[in-house]
């Protein structure tokens, strides 16, 4: 997994509520397309017109936001299906960080498994950030619609220079900063797992079918 430390990048607002993972990656693409190749299908239902051409109204097709690596989203972002392909598809289009007031709980975990940082902020802060990005994207603006995300210091800095602190669980932060592989770490705890399971076999033997 790639480490995540600081990211200073274009950021695009997608201020819709309850965007679900079916939209982020349609199930048939997940079935038929390899993990590394999902990027072109991210947000497919919104991203293309019926003739297959780009939908200019799609949030990441607006010239100021094209190539954004940060998405600023509405409540309950990526709710629904557990498909990790939602993270892979967004990564495939370059996204490394999502900021929202709340997330689908499985997507939230899946992000950390892939070096993507999900940041939960108050709705007021998320709306203010989205507002600044829209303003910065207008012609004649003095700023670019960029955000600077610093995981060491847990801050997001907006185009106007406002710095907003965020919370992230210590264990998740540590893994992202170091790019750790969780399976490899847990395998080091095999003795503890074995001891726990031996005790559980004694206490609740009916959970362990005879093999």
């Amino acid at each position: 997994m790639d480490a995540f430390t600081v990211l200073d990048a274009l950021a695009a607002p997608l201020m819709r509520q309850n965007v679900n993972t079916d939209i982020i990656i349609p199930i048939h693409r997940l079935r038929d397309v390899a993990q590394a190749d999902l990027g072109p299908y991210a947000f497919e239902p919104w991203r293309y017109l019926p003739d297959g051409s780009e939908n200019p109204e799609f949030f990441l097709h607006k010239p100021a936001f094209r190539g954004a690596q940060i998405v600023v989203a509405g409540d309950n972002f990526a709710c629904g299906s557990s498909r990790e392909g939602a993270v892979w598809a967004m990564m495939g289009m370059g996204v490394r960080c999502v900021i929202a007031p709340s997330f689908g709980p499985i997507f939230f975990n899946n992000c950390f498994q892939n070096g993507v940082l999900p940041i939960q902020l108050s709705r007021a802060d998320v709306e203010a950030i989205a507002g600044e990005l829209e303003t910065a994207a207008r012609p004649g603006s003095n700023h670019e619609p960029r955000l600077a995300v610093d995981l060491h210091n847990r801050t997001v800095t907006t185009p106007s220079g406002r710095r907003i602190e965020f919370q992230v669980d210590g264990i998740r932060r540590d893994s992202l900063l170091k790019g750790l592989n969780e399976v490899a770490l847990t395998l080091l705890r095999e003795a503890e797992i074995a001891a726990h399971q031996a005790k559980a076999r004694q206490a609740t033997p009916w959970l362990y079918p005879a093999t």
Binding site: P26, Q35, G80, S81, I106, I193, Q197, Y208
Partner: protein, 465 residues
């Protein structure tokens, strides 16, 4: 010391190591697998890991298989290669796989309880968001992503943050025509699809205790549509009765010891929840969704809501987009809406009691001429039991199609889809844009309501049929 919740009791049993910040390394006592997730078993091999506990891992085929009648291994193309690979891998590791045509095969969330694999007090995971279903057995059960599946296969454990606890208490009389599906849809309508985010939800109250086990599974199934990964109901005599004699349930002295233990798995009287929600059963009538999120739900007798009445501009926008997609107008009566399809099945409502409820409405009636109606049993056993009761004949005589078990049109990744612009009444769990096929329009409802819609040819109130 304050009392413990049902959730706390089961969580505590599975903590291998406290990792700080409310995180724990948890032992996984049951892992279920299906054909629709990530690369699972193939990925394990590529990474050089071994499957740590094949004895605690159970697999079946459900997501990508066709449910066309008379299916054989040869008719499963184009996904046959995926199925054959999974079958080979399961055999290689010694994982029990319930294969096509074999009792036990079925939707993974029907299979687990049916086989006595999903037991009270277990911590059960599966690479599917509707794993919360198994909470209806008195378990902590939740969906995980593909990388977490690999973690579980390799270590039989998972790193998780302990969620907060919510209790939703349902009190009052259940009106005729109101099913567990209506109860949970009503709650989603009240607190929204993010209302449960960050919580493990326990469903409680006299109206929940009165439900049979299959109805409890239906309620817990929609927990993820509340934003909650985990929904659960304390096990009781009904749970024990349901489990007794099932293939993987304990037997003999083990059974007695298990039941004695399971009786301790209820929230203590003085247990504290972070949030309490009360639901008055008297307010619940049959529910139907009108939009593209499960929170877009109303009583079948209501008119379609007006986005202008929603205070929040984001909500207005999302409601208007939903109306446009669904081809509906605010203020119209939902129960006059003409439909093209009915789908009865899924991990929400594909169990025998669901099939019986739909058959009771279908019996002696005819599906409207312009409607295509499918009944897809949730498992091979459900199919065989329904056929033994003659329910397949009831459906076929009424003009429904009777199919093979699988996920089918709940997620439309198996060839079972509706066409763009078509409107379906479905007993499944998600009315998302394109869920039943690109451009398809889905209204969620109970099995009885779905059968009533098939016969009326429009969304209909089952109580008036």
């Amino acid at each position: 010391m304050p009392g413990q919740t049902l959730f706390d009791k089961i969580w505590q049993r599975h903590v291998i190591a406290d990792l700080g910040d409310d995180y724990a390394l948890l032992h996984i006592s049951r892992h279920l697998m299906h054909d629709g997730g990530g690369r699972g078993l193939a990925a394990i091999k590529d990474a050089g890991y071994r499957v740590r506990n094949p004895d605690l891992t159970f697999a079946t085929f459900d997501h990508v298989i066709s449910t066309a009648p008379g299916r054989t291994h040869d008719t499963l193309k184009p996904h046959a290669a995926r199925l054959y690979a999974m079958r080979d891998e399961a055999k290689h590791w010694g994982i029990k796989l319930f294969d096509l045509g074999e009792p036990g095969q079925g939707i993974v969330h029907v299979m687990g309880p049916e086989q006595g694999i999903s037991l009270p007090g277990t911590l059960l995971v599966c690479g599917d968001s509707h794993t919360c279903t198994h909470g209806g057995m008195g378990a902590i059960a939740f969906g995980v992503g593909a990388t977490e599946v690999i973690h579980v296969l390799a270590t039989q454990s998972l790193v998780q943050r302990k969620p907060k606890r919510m209790r939703a208490t349902f009190e009052g009389t259940r009106h005729p025509g109101v099913t567990p599906k209506d109860m949970i849809l009503f709650l989603i309508g009240q607190i929204g699809t993010a209302g449960g985010t960050g919580y493990a939800v326990e469903y409680a109250g006299s109206a929940v205790r009165a439900l049979e086990v299959e109805g409890r599974l239906t309620m817990c199934n929609l927990s993820i549509e509340l934003g909650a990964k985990i929904g659960m109901i304390a096990p009781d005599e009904k749970t024990f009765e349901f489990l007794k004699g099932r293939p993987y349930a304990p037997t003999g002295a083990q059974w007695d010891a298990a039941v004695a233990d399971w009786r301790s798995l209820a929230s203590d009287a003085d247990a504290q929840f972070d949030v309490e929600v009360k639901v008055d059963m008297n307010k619940i009538v049959p529910q139907v969704t009108w939009g593209t999120s499960p929170e877009h739900v109303i009583a079948v007798t209501d008119t379609i809501p007006d986005p202008a009445q929603a205070g929040d501009p984001d909500k207005q926008q999302s409601m208007q987009a939903a109306l446009d997609y669904m081809g509906l107008k605010a203020g119209a009566r939902l129960d006059q809406t003409k439909i093209d399809w009915v789908f009865i099945g899924s991990c929400t409502n594909g169990r025998l009691s669901d099939i019986r409820a739909a058959a009771a409405v279908a019996k002696g009636r005819k599906v409207a001429g312009h409607v295509r109606a499918w009944v897809v049993p949730g498992s091979e056993n459900v199919k065989r039991q329904a056929e033994a009761e003659g329910l397949d004949r009831v459906f076929l005589d009424a003009g429904f199609e009777w199919r093979e078990p699988g996920c089918s049109m709940c997620l439309a990744v198996n060839g079972d889809t509706i066409a763009p612009g078509q409107r379906s009444v479905s007993t499944s769990n998600r009315n998302f844009v394109g869920r039943q096929g690109p451009g398809g329009r889905t209204h969620l409802a109970s099995p009885a309501m779905a059968a009533a819609a098939a016969i009326a040819g429009r969304i209909a109130d089952v109580r008036s049929i």
